[in-house]
């Protein structure tokens, strides 16, 4: 399942959906949160995620298909939020179920690495009256070389 949405997501419900059959022996999950990125109090900070409707979903589908071709997986779920968020809000959920832990861990790691550099999302941080688009990190691009 792949979803791009404004709404909050329920980790327990997403976990339950990943346990699809009795072959499932491992579920690996990653949840990304909005860090407190400012010296100002949390309530004076906002965080915004923009995406490219159509392309973003296509990018995520490609990444998940790539993961499924590399490892034997039972189910994959990616949920990514967009719009305005607050400090400590959940941003992204990646969950992978498989028969064994190695596949689940590796596929989850792979999907997050590619999501960071190959999915059309952009983050903007606002502290008080000042807004700044978040720069991409070189190390995110370098992380992809682990999977080549």
């Amino acid at each position: 399942m792949i979803k791009v949405q404004q709404e909050e997501f329920d980790v327990q419900a997403l976990y339950d959906d990943l346990v699809v059959n009795s072959n499932t022996g491992a579920v690996a999950m990653f949840v990304g949160l909005v860090r407190h990125f400012s010296s100002l109090p949390s309530q004076d900070c906002t965080f915004e995620l923009e995406h490219y409707p159509g392309m973003t979903e296509h990018n995520l589908q490609t990444i998940v298909e790539d993961a499924c071709s590399r490892w034997s997986l039972n189910a994959v779920t990616v949920v990514h939020r967009v719009g305005k968020l607050a400090v400590q809000d959940k941003i992204v959920f990646v969950g992978v179920s498989a028969s064994h832990r190695a596949e689940a861990f590796q596929a989850c790691d792979f999907i997050m690495d590619y999501l960071k550099s190959r999915a059309a999302f952009w983050k903007k941080e606002t502290q008080g009256n000042e807004s700044k688009w978040v720069d991409a990190k070189e190390q995110d691009e370098e992380s992809l070389s682990r999977w080549e």
Binding site: G32, H51, Y52, H58, I91, A119, K124, D135
Partner: protein, 84 residues
């Protein structure tokens, strides 16, 4: 003459002051050629030539040398992505 929808995102959209532009011109051309033409046509268009600006053709990431064919519907320009 072809018409091509061009869209912009994030900081580039703010710098250009527009999120969409209908480009009229003769396709095919490379992404780089399209970028050069748009840079002349749009206010603050030089921002398109900044190192690091990325692009896509019909939802697929593209590079400067990729061809925008006659059948292309939409090209996007944007800064490096920062999801997750």
């Amino acid at each position: 003459m072809n018409e091509l929808n061009v869209v912009f995102f994030a900081s580039l959209k703010e710098t250009l002051g527009i999120e969409q532009y209908v480009f009229a011109g003769h396709l095919p051309m490379t992404v780089k050629e399209l970028k050069m033409q748009l840079a002349k046509l749009l206010k603050n268009g030089d921002a398109l030539l900044d190192k690091g600006i990325q692009s896509s053709i019909d939802f697929e990431f593209a590079r400067d040398g990729n061809i925008v064919n006659e059948g292309a519907k939409e090209v996007a320009f944007f800064p490096p992505v920062t999801g997750g």
